[in-house]
Symmetry: C2
């Protein structure tokens, strides 16, 4: 930029040669309203591809939009199938033991874990836009279903009602997810920030691991609460009940699983070792129990699993019972959390492989698979990170790997369920613990602390809330702190003094650029947020204080007295009527003190509203400049040719209480 | 500004002559934390005056801080006293009938209205910093107390409990108000924006007027609800019960009151006419009833009022009953609303008379007067607008006018209460209606519609909520819409394309300045809000769409292909870890498409975090410029001397689904 190279004419009207600050051309109300709606709900402009197409083409594109399989299906090759077969079988071997384990975590019959890995993946394969997402149940949502429904209905005393409530909750979760997608309200998921999810996942993983102490130690009685204090009290109050057989078995299997994870992490080529490890422990554990008859010596086993495919369950929904609100509430909370995980996982892998997924479309797909799933004895599913990572590492090419997994699970349901009779529960606990340890991402928490302390507080709020109170409390704390941060940004905007960078007409923050020079007689303030009702009182006080401090400083050094106050409005994105009142009050204050108020670079929205509220006339159009540089030069010019024309000559000194 | 006048050296390292973008000097965590706390809670720096003073002087200044009477008392003159005497007597003549009317509105004994105009004004005179505020009860808070407590306890069936709950609620309201002030949390009141208050006051006034139909029509049975539908149904379902005597009397007095208001508005010198009118109607009405014995013909009268000063009531607080939560809730809501009115009124008159009031100090004063008041049979008081305006017009000089009013009320309590025996209730209704009509500020609503549609929606939300549901619902709706607006500002930030203003190095919004020129091969985007978790997904999609649209446009016109994307970060006040991830993803997207990402003018906070998260290294320090102008010149320079050094040469075209 450098120094400006034009000379101001010696009259007062040099502004003619500069660009005036424009009030944007007025728009009819409905056009601007439509534009705002579009920007709010359709930022990705999903209808762009439909432009200028024939109706039949439009219909086909619309069908493709909701069923992406129509898009990639015709291009599917044998090469793809080979990759998808391998990855599909790999994730099936993970899905079967994990499915059973997580169903136990939700206090549901273990077979539901298998059912849930059959129908939903088929739906997702047709509707989903991610190529890497592997569908299945997740630990956190399972735990949440268990604890939220368990508060109302005891799963062991009234298993049928509990089961029906789980289906109903899944139905509402799906309904919510699909509606969010259809209504383009996907941004609600964005309010679960990365920091919230790190803390929340870590906390939930901790809670899930603590719950496994029951299985590992072979305890019969256990607290219903999930907080760390109740659980540890429950564990240590019954030391005499601990079963060493169960404990040793659990520790051995856990060690084996962690070892395989560690090995696979070191050598990514051998990802299949950690992928196969759970199934291997299940087989080894079952064999061991079968051969030693350990089930008679304190090692609990799964027991009978019913053969056969998913029975229909749409007759089981509980829409009229007094428990409906519980089901709806559980569905809402677990649905949102499952959605956030599914979307985040899909997005991460899409970023890796350089393709794009549409959040709202994903929501419709995940929602539909849960609605259909809930009609066929499935409970809440989404795209778990661990399984999707295995899918990705196994080289999946399309969502077809989900179909392969579903077929493998179907085969298991039809023929292999008796084999799980002797599977010890302690193995399932070991599988869960090993999976959960990967979710405690302490490195991410350290990174948050380093980069952004506030995000760290959000993360810790979620973690501590989940671990010491409950999953819902943790979530509420984290979201509340996050939203508080947004509100605080607006309620307490940064204001700072600008100075002149040497040898330029550029004005920047004095704090950020210590080499800047003061401009004698002129105070330049930058306001770093929109001026809204929430900050207008604050800004009035803070601006008064800036002026006080500047005058005190000038008085103590005996320099030129203050004559002009320039507001750099570049960062003021919007203003409301309270903000305009604030500016009017500030104008009165400056007038009274014999100062001239000058605005620099107000944006389109701000100019529009200043114009409508006649504030431009109050301040005078000639006191609004395009840049801070121009404003300063104009002030300097007037400062050296004439006194500022204070409108309020008889003003008394401002009585600052 | 004009054209830059320095020539870039012909090597690649011309950046040496420009100012580099500075990362602000690192600050120790606790220092920056302390600074943030100070900016958040002490924006007005209240301790500034205590600096460099002796301890005894500090103590006296501290005492003065909490008791401003110590400051203005010594300077009080006889001249002041004369003015304050006149204004004090004027507001007393308004306070007595209004106090009785509003107490009826709260379903409390009428005498409480007089008690409440005796003790609280004395406290305020010592502690308040406003010179114009006239203390007393207000209609809206009275109505709210009536409806909120009335939901739990019937005032006619259980008057003692109801009365005690009212004192308890007042106590908690005062406690909340004083705590907000002491904890420097006054900004909570700012969340009641001007638009909210206009709508809320209008709605409350409408509801209060509707309630007066009972008194005017002399109805015996009336609905407990306050919404317009219940009230109108209640009124029109008992047409045969309407008393014409009462109706005619009410209409006549209302007409007289409105006429006096109209006259005083036309001729501000005769403000005392409208100030005296209520007392005149009370006297005329009472005389009329006394002479005609109308109380025996369907005109209800106040009846006996107990002689004597406020009895103590601190023994009556209900801290243990099951109704405690009701009292606390009522206290909180009415306390906040009363506080908002008091602060706003104090601030407006201070602005008029060019002095300054301290919001937090006011809160402590108002809170203390309610705590003390609740111990002496007073209910909730604040600084009503109407009474303060009369005070101001009557020429009050200091808070001494409140003392004069209190003495006049004391005199009334001691000697004159029997005179109110024959005062007809219909006169009180007429007084309330006439006062309430002034609160329906339709002109302000029209102004909101003209200047800011969103504020208008907030205002209407409050109005409709109050009128059709209840006062609390209206308040919740308005605050929710207001907060939604703040969140929406962050969640859906404006992004716009910048262009070059002819004959300058200034870049401004293409929409606001239609004369700007495109820069070939370069897309300049401005992001108009902080980049937070709530908008990072949106920004990623929106930025991708800007790039798509720009490439489509360039393709269709066959111009130079896109090479650089410049983000103007001037208006990005802050960034969190989700925002940094978003920038990293955008960097990957641009790399893949063979574009170069350039940042212009990131602020101190943003640079700090980009530095800590190593994003500066990812993007390259040489791609961050101080101004958009510099960035464009650097890009132009490279564009014409060499191809951009895309880091990802083997990138495939971005697969845009």
């Amino acid at each position: 930029m450098g120094n400006a190279d034009y000379v101001y004419p010696s009259t007062n009207e040099y502004r003619q040669c500069a660009h005036p600050v424009a009030v944007p051309p007025p728009q009819p109300f409905f056009k601007s309203f439509k534009n705002s709606l579009k920007e709010t709900f359709f930022p990705d402009d999903p209808l762009r591809q439909f432009k200028n197409k024939t109706p039949s083409r439009k219909f086909f594109l619309g069908l493709q939009y909701f069923l992406p399989i129509l898009e990639w299906g015709p291009r599917y090759t044998f090469q793809f199938l080979k990759s998808d077969l391998i990855s599909g079988i790999t994730i099936a071997s993970l899905a079967i033991p994990q499915g059973i384990s997580y169903a136990k975590l939700a206090n549901l019959p273990p077979i539901l874990g298998l059912y849930s890995s059959f129908i939903p993946p088929l739906i997702y394969a047709m509707m989903g836009s991610s190529r890497d997402l592997a569908v299945g149940t997740v630990a956190v949502a399972s735990l949440l279903i268990g604890s939220m429904l368990g508060d109302e209905v005891n799963a062991t005393e009234n298993p049928a009602l509990y089961l029906h409530l789980a289906f109903t909750a899944t139905f509402f979760a799906g309904l919510l997810q699909a509606s969010l997608g259809l209504l383009r309200l996907g941004f609600i998921v964005d309010f679960l920030s990365h920091a919230t999810i790190v803390g929340f996942m870590g906390g939930a993983a901790t809670v899930v691991i603590l719950q496994q102490l029951k299985g590992i130690l072979g305890l019969q009685h256990f607290t219903q609460s999930t907080d760390i204090i109740s659980v540890l009290r429950s564990v240590f109050s019954q030391i005499h009940e601990w079963r060493w057989e169960s404990g040793v078995l659990g520790a051995v299997f856990l060690f084996f699983l962690l070892l395989s994870r560690y090995f696979s992490k070191k050598r990514p080529k051998f990802f299949w070792i950690s992928a196969m490890a759970p199934l291997t422990t299940v087989i080894l554990g079952s064999l061991l129990v079968y051969l030693t008859h350990a089930e008679k010596h304190g090692v609990d086993v799964i027991g009978n699993l019913k053969k056969g495919l998913n029975p229909p369950s749409f007759g089981d929904f509980v829409f009229t019972s007094p428990y409906l609100t519980t089901a709806v509430k559980t569905g809402m909370i677990t649905g949102i959390i499952a959605l956030a995980e599914g979307i985040a996982v899909g997005r991460s892998f899409a970023m890796f492989k350089h393709y794009n997924i549409d959040g709202n479309k994903e929501m419709v797909a995940i929602g539909t698979m849960n609605i259909v799933g809930s009609c066929f004895s499935c409970y809440l599913t989404t795209g778990p990170f661990s399984r999707s990572a295995v899918n990705f590492n196994a080289g999946c090419k399309t969502a077809m790997s989900n179909v392969v997994m579903a077929i493998a699970v179907m085969f298991t349901l039809l023929f292999l369920t008796p084999l799980f009779h002797y599977t010890p529960l302690v193995v399932l606990s070991a599988i869960i613990i090993s999976a959960m340890l990967g979710l405690i991402d302490y490195e991410a928490a350290i990174h948050l602390w380093k980069v952004d302390k506030f995000d760290f507080v959000v993360c810790m709020g979620a973690y501590i809330g989940v671990v010491f109170a409950s999953v819902e409390v943790g979530l509420v704390i984290a979201v509340a702190i996050s939203v508080l941060r947004l509100l605080l940004f607006v309620a307490r905007p940064k204001t700072f003094v600008l100075g002149n960078l040497p040898n330029s007409t550029i004005y920047r923050s004095v704090e950020q650029y210590p080499t800047t020079n003061d401009v004698p007689g002129i105070l330049i303030l930058q306001i770093d947020a929109p001026i809204y009702f929430a900050n207008s009182s604050y800004l009035r006080e803070r601006i008064s204080r800036w002026i006080d401090e500047e005058e005190d400083k000038l008085k103590s050094t005996g320099e030129t007295s203050l004559q002009y106050v320039i507001f750099n409005m570049s960062a003021v994105g919007n203003i409301d009527t309270s903000g305009i009142s604030m500016l009017e009050e500030v104008k009165k204050i400056t007038d009274r003190r014999g100062l001239k108020l000058v605005l620099a670079n107000p944006g389109a929205e701000v100019m529009k509203k200043l114009n409508k509220s006649k504030f431009i006339e109050t301040i005078g159009k000639e006191w609004i400049y395009l840049t801070v540089g121009e404003a300063v030069e104009a002030c300097n010019y007037k400062l050296h040719t004439c006194k500022p024309d204070a409108t309020n000559e008889d003003s008394q000194p401002w009585n600052n209480v």
